[in-house]
Amino acid sequence: MTLAGCLTLAAALFSLGVYGLLTRRQAVAVLVSVELMANAANLCFVAFSRFRGDVTGQALAVFALALTVAEVAVGLALVILLYRAHGDTRVDLASEMKQ
């Protein structure tokens, strides 16, 4: 098990997240993709923490986790709002700013 392996895994997860982000239209699905990407970033933190022998990376990962939770909470609230406004949760419906 090497740092390179961990990082490659993280890169793969992140790229999958990007793929999802770009293809998905459902708001919840978009959130899922974002979670994947955040998770990949966290993996990097932890891996580097181990690599450097320093606990700061883990601390950052904890913070990032907390941030993610906040993000999901707000994100889901927005999804509900979107649903109320449009009866659907496709993000491309939320295009009022275009006008």
């Binding site: 999802g20 239209r25 919840v28």
Partner: protein, 174 residues
């Protein structure tokens, strides 16, 4: 042995991730995400971050995924659990994702000294992490707690059902 185990875990993380971003059923997608996150938690544990692994399981798999499933259930009728018309920009997205991965992989490859086996874990218990959190980075910690509070209040405010007059207004197509 360890390498093989890592490979297995990596596969356990990637395959559910693929299913999560491709799956047509949103409930399933959320559950697959949970599976991927669990595998990642296992990697954390392998990397000696057992506390973080625990948090990952508790917060993510226990909390976030549940939230998501609730979210899906609240916003979709049963027949609509299947996500429709998810096939936009497949090729473009795939190209970008692959390029991104290739670029990063290339960067990892090109960097020396990453292939050495990782050293011993930093600390067996959570005391070092605890000190880092509430001693070294206490300011960030407090700020984050504030942020969480704000996010929760904000989420409540956003999702709250409006008062009747406003609600009526919202019904009127703009």
């Amino acid at each position: 042995m360890e390498g093989t185990f890592f490979m297995v875990l990596a596969a356990c993380a990637l395959v559910p991730a693929w299913l999560a971003v491709r799956g047509a059923n949103l409930i399933h997608a959320a559950l697959w995400l949970g599976a991927s996150l669990l595998a990642t938690a296992a990697v954390y544990a392998m990397l000696g971050a057992s506390f973080l692994a625990g948090v990952q399981v508790l917060v993510y798999v226990g909390g976030v995924i549940t939230l998501m499933i609730f979210g899906v259930m609240m916003t979709r009728r049963h027949e609509g659990l299947v996500a429709l018309a998810e096939s936009r920009h497949q090729g473009r997205a795939a190209a970008i994702a692959v390029t991104l991965f290739a670029v990063i992989a290339q960067a990892i490859n090109a960097t020396d000294g990453l292939d050495a086996p990782l050293s011993a874990p930093v600390s067996a218990n959570g005391s070092a992490l605890g000190r880092a959190l509430v001693v070294d980075h206490v300011l960030a910690f407090e700020a984050l707690s504030l942020l969480l509070l704000a996010a929760i209040v904000g989420a409540v405010v956003i999702a709250r059902r409006r008062d009747p007059p406003d609600a009526r207004e919202a019904e009127v197509p703009s």
